[in-house]
């Protein structure tokens, strides 16, 4: 059974682009246009094997989403990748402190994305 990846980004282009790349590689993809929508889907029973989130989104930020997910039952150890244009070390440290699994700077080459995802989900 293919692994499910939840993509969280306010950019429709990024969602479409990454969904196509991951879907083509055999993953099941769920999408959320904001952190709040992602939380709603998780509360609604979605059980992803990996979350890939942007940082700068209207409303709740990606870092806050990570913090929130870490408090949800059964999701403390769910891998969460940050994909963002943000490149300041301070933000990376913030993501690390919030217990993000990794950090990718946009634009992400499809090969790089799949390599990292397969590293995290070897059986995906």
């Amino acid at each position: 059974m293919p692994s499910t990846i939840l993509l969280v980004d306010d950019s429709a282009t990024i969602l479409m682009s990454m969904e196509a790349i991951l879907h083509k590689a055999g993953f099941t993809v769920a999408k959320a246009a904001c952190a709040e929508d992602a939380i709603t889907q998780l509360n609604g029973g979605l059980k992803p094997h990996l979350i890939i989130t942007d940082i700068h989104m209207p409303g709740m930020s990606g870092i806050d989403l990570i913090r929130k997910v870490r408090t949800m039952p059964g999701l403390q150890f769910l891998p969460i990748l940050v994909v963002t244009t943000e490149s300041q070390q301070a933000k990376r440290d913030e993501a690390r402190a919030a217990k993000a699994t990794g950090w990718l700077v946009k634009p992400v080459q499809p090969d790089d994305l799949l390599k990292v995802v397969r590293q995290i989900l070897p059986n995906g």
Partner: protein, 245 residues
């Protein structure tokens, strides 16, 4: 658009002008009172009248000098300030245009990127179906046609990845829009203060406002550009593009 020039030809009603006029009136009253006292004290007709006139003139002059010390700006200077303020207000039309054009670029590239992504996904899906059909027709044997389908499909994923340019462009334009808002606010502040030369010191320095915009730079390239614009030869470390914690 309301500009300070709207009040340029009206009566002098600014707070400073009112204070100056009040001082002048108080001084005149004080010395007029002194003159009246002199009348009572001296009692002489001509002497009293002369003294009253002199004291009143002194009072008016003193009041005028007191009022002028930090009072009304000369009319010519005031008109010049209003003219400058009016020009500043007109610059805002340019920053507004810059923002509107930025939003149009963002909207059009967003629409185009989504259309391209949709087309690429459709193409990819059709190529998958074609491959299945070829497999079925050739009983799974390799064929030139199948190799051709693979070749056509190969760049699709790379092209989909390239579409991330739209998100980056949108963020870069968004940053320029926020910078233009800083310029806008500074122009509003300047225009408002031009009628009050004592409050010029209270306007935030543009350099400080510009420096604060660095907090808004999320990309290393933006931060490097900001440093260069601020006259600093500073290049920040980019860090790895991919990092697992």
């Amino acid at each position: 658009m309301t500009t300070p020039s709207a009040s340029a030809n009206g009566p002098p009603h600014s707070p400073i002008e009112r204070i100056a006029l009040l001082r002048l009136a108080v001084a005149a009253l004080v010395f007029a009172g002194s003159a009246a006292a002199a009348i009572v004290a001296v009692g002489g007709g001509l002497t009293t009248t002369l003294m009253a006139s002199v004291l009143t003139a002194v009072g008016v002059t003193l009041g005028y000098l007191l009022g002028r010390r930090d009072g009304p700006t000369p009319r010519a200077v005031r008109l010049l300030l209003f003219k400058v303020a009016d020009e500043l207000a007109q610059y805002r039309a340019f920053t507004r245009l810059l923002r509107d054009q930025g939003e149009r670029i963002t909207d059009s590239t967003n629409g185009a990127a989504i259309a391209i992504a949709t087309g690429l996904k459709e193409m990819d899906s059709n190529l998958d179906r074609m491959r299945t059909t070829i497999d079925r027709a050739t009983a799974g044997e390799d064929s030139e046609l199948k190799a051709l389908v693979d070749a056509v499909e190969a760049p699709v994923i790379t092209l989909l990845g390239q579409l991330q340019f739209q998100d980056l462009t949108q963020q870069q334009i968004g940053f320029l829009v926020r910078l233009s808002l800083i310029v806008d606010q500074h122009m509003i502040d300047l225009a408002q203060r031009l009628g009050d030369r004592r409050s010029m010191d209270r306007i935030e320095n543009f350099k400080e406002m510009f420096n604060k915009a660095l907090d808004d730079c999320v990309m290393t390239s933006q931060r490097d550009d900001h440093h260069a614009a601020a006259g600093l030869d500073l290049h920040e470390a980019r860090g790895p593009k991919v990092e697992l914690f």
